[in-house]
Amino acid sequence: MKLMIGGYAQGKLSYVLLKYQLSEDAVWDSVLPEETELRRKQRMHCVEHGVLPDQTAASVEPIVVNHFHQWVRRRLSEGECPEKDVQSFLNRCENCIIICDEIGNGIVPVDAFEREYRERTGRILIRLAQEAEEVERVICGIGQRIK
């Protein structure tokens, strides 16, 4: 797993797609896909491109989770526990690139939910960074390798 972090509108997704030569097909927007969804998308990809399905392809081609912070926010607002979901996602999909906005460099919000959202996202990112083989921070479209 690789982690990409950076501010809003800094070109994180373009940076990832270019660096790892991936297409938009690999991108999941603010969702951690289930196993069945991954397989369905893989089948669709095969049909569209006229290639034979390869059972191992899902583990070879990395998947990109974009706007990870929005997913965390949604899970929290649903009263769920994103930490648990992240762990099980990583267990079934080790070969992935997670892209998340830096959301913690502002004034601590007055609203309790907004505070919780920043704190929990920050803590999840720390754990992801510990597990990641690589962490990059993207600023102005430029990647800085920080792990």
Partner: protein, 190 residues
């Protein structure tokens, strides 16, 4: 050379940018210009301008106030070599977007500023551009504000792509982001 200097409020990015421009202009024997994009609306603005003027005093900058159409500042410059400090993209973007009765679309603002800055790049020996790092607070503002932030992000990215150096100033310390080439200007502090 073209340098993009980023930083938060009160990070010391302006002081660093001034020092850098003085070094660059000194080596190339060019005239130093300070392009001020900020519009003064109130007393707080006046005080900020005073503070910046005071710090620049004695450094030999010629100040040009240019809140919009930044390339027009070239008309006010003398012929000969120029080194220019543009302060800053945050103000310039706000002015280009919110001047007039209607808010200009972010694409038009981005294109107009990038056109202006590239014209400055072509006509100057050295150009130092100051911009803010306003992208990391996680707040989803209203549409207009998000458009403004997006435009600034796009401008920063495009400028970074063609800059010789990108530097982020943190607590007064310049942290290289990209393109630090010690061969280019050996005695510019980093």
């Amino acid at each position: 050379m073209m340098v993009l200097v980023l930083g938060g409020s009160g990070s010391g990015k302006s002081a660093y940018a001034e020092e850098l421009l003085c070094t660059l202009a000194g080596k190339s024997q060019t005239t130093k210009y300070y392009l001020a994009a900020m519009r003064v609306y109130d007393e707080e603005g006046t005080r900020k301008v005073e503070k910046h003027r005071e710090r620049r005093k004695g450094k030999g900058f010629l100040t040009i106030e240019q809140p919009v159409r930044i390339e027009d500042a070239l008309f006010q410059m003398k012929s000969g070599g120029k080194s220019v400090l543009l302060e800053c993209i945050s103000n310039l973007t706000a002015n280009e977007m919110f001047t007039g009765t209607q808010i200009r679309p972010k694409e038009a603002v981005t294109a107009c500023i990038l056109r202006g800055v590239s014209q400055l790049m072509r006509e100057t020996a050295h150009l130092v551009v100051v911009s803010g790092n306003v992208f990391e607070d996680g707040i989803v503002y209203n549409r207009t504000t998000m458009d403004y932030i997006y435009a600034m992000g796009e401008i920063n990215r495009q400028l970074a792509a063609c800059a010789d150096r990108v530097v982020e100033v943190v607590a007064g310390i310049p942290v290289p982001v990209r393109g630090v080439n010690p061969e280019a200007v050996p005695d510019v502090p980093f």
